[in-house]
Amino acid sequence: MQTHIAKRVEIVIEAPLERRLTEALTAAGVTGYTVLPVLGGSGRSGQWSRDGQVGRAGMVSVVCLIKPKRLDGLLDAIFAVVKKHIGVVSVTDAHVLRAERF
């Protein structure tokens, strides 16, 4: 099966910022992303959990597969949103099927 080199960018960010992040991704030319729920976690700002929360509490995980050459522009766009906020960004090398989609 023919696969193509890609980058998998994963951003764990506060839920109230989700819309701003996905708008920034779209503005940076990303063709797609997937939002995953997060149950809880721990970091420098302490431990938290989604249990019983009513508001837009907690974090979400946004995963984005992109062509490698787009990575730098994308990271700049992400950083502009994440900079002042709680959140973690990681990048992994990946291969994808159907390169024409990215």
Binding site: E14, A15, P16, L17, R19, R20, S45, G46, Q47, S49, R50, D51, G52, Q53, V54, G55, R56, A57, K84, H85, I86
Partner: protein, 325 residues
Amino acid sequence: MIEILSLAGANLISPIILSFALGLLAALARSDLTIPEAVAKGMSIYLLFAIGFKGGVAVSAHGIDQTLVLALLAGLVLSFTLPLLAFGLLRVLTGLSAVDAAAVAAHYGSISIVTFVAATSVLQGRMISSEGYMVAVAAVMEAPAILSALWLVARSGGEARMEPGLIRELLLNGSIVLLVGAFFIGAITGEKGFAEISAFIEAPFKGVLCLFLLDMGLIAGRGLRQSRGVLGLGAVGFAIAMPLVSALLGLGVGALIGLSLGGIVLMMVLCASASYIAVPAAMRVALPEANPAIYLTLSLGVTFPFNLTLGIPLYLAIAQAVTGA
């Protein structure tokens, strides 16, 4: 005084308060009792819909009296100005930074709808009627305080992100839309609509409120456990003094514009209560540097239980004394 205490005592042993206490204790004892997020959200949607709807039905029954506009206006002004008062108090009582103080101030200018709901249920238990449109006043008081807080930060030389999307987000916030929407549905369909769905809106209301307060207790307890040591005595003092002062302001304004006894109590409760749903999310967007542990612990961990247990009966007793009812 003895009356107030006995009133407070009677309030304290209601299933509603005890459910909150159960949640608080369970969380402090590190029980793994939790309410699923979806269930908690479902209950809050139910409560907002029911309280809004009932308010609308009440308005359709009694008509719009001339104080409606005054009450809405008063709510607006109070929500804009209470943060200034809170900010001042915080700067005197605590060593919080300007940004943290402004963030806390935003919470106390806004309102807690659950405290409002608990107060309506105490009034109902005492057969004291109130203006149905007070839920509209509650809706009006949710957002303005946030703008005042951002102005406070900007004035202190801080950076507050007042981006275009924020205002729309605040005004079209889910809980405001649901509360106001249900209010209009109630006002339009009136007693006939109420008859159709009262078995859903009215009968199970207090029971759902119990489970919801159990959840609030769990969250407040978890917060208190995790933020031990974050708050000084001054901050805790603020979280009790501020609702008292705000309630008195609400009393004055309510009496001035001619609200009924029940309406005055609800106005006091709106002023005294602090947001812990809409405002925290807005703060994460607009004032990310402010520490959430501070404002959440104060509003949900101190002021919310205070209002729920002692505050509401106290405000009621004061209002009764002042209005002579």
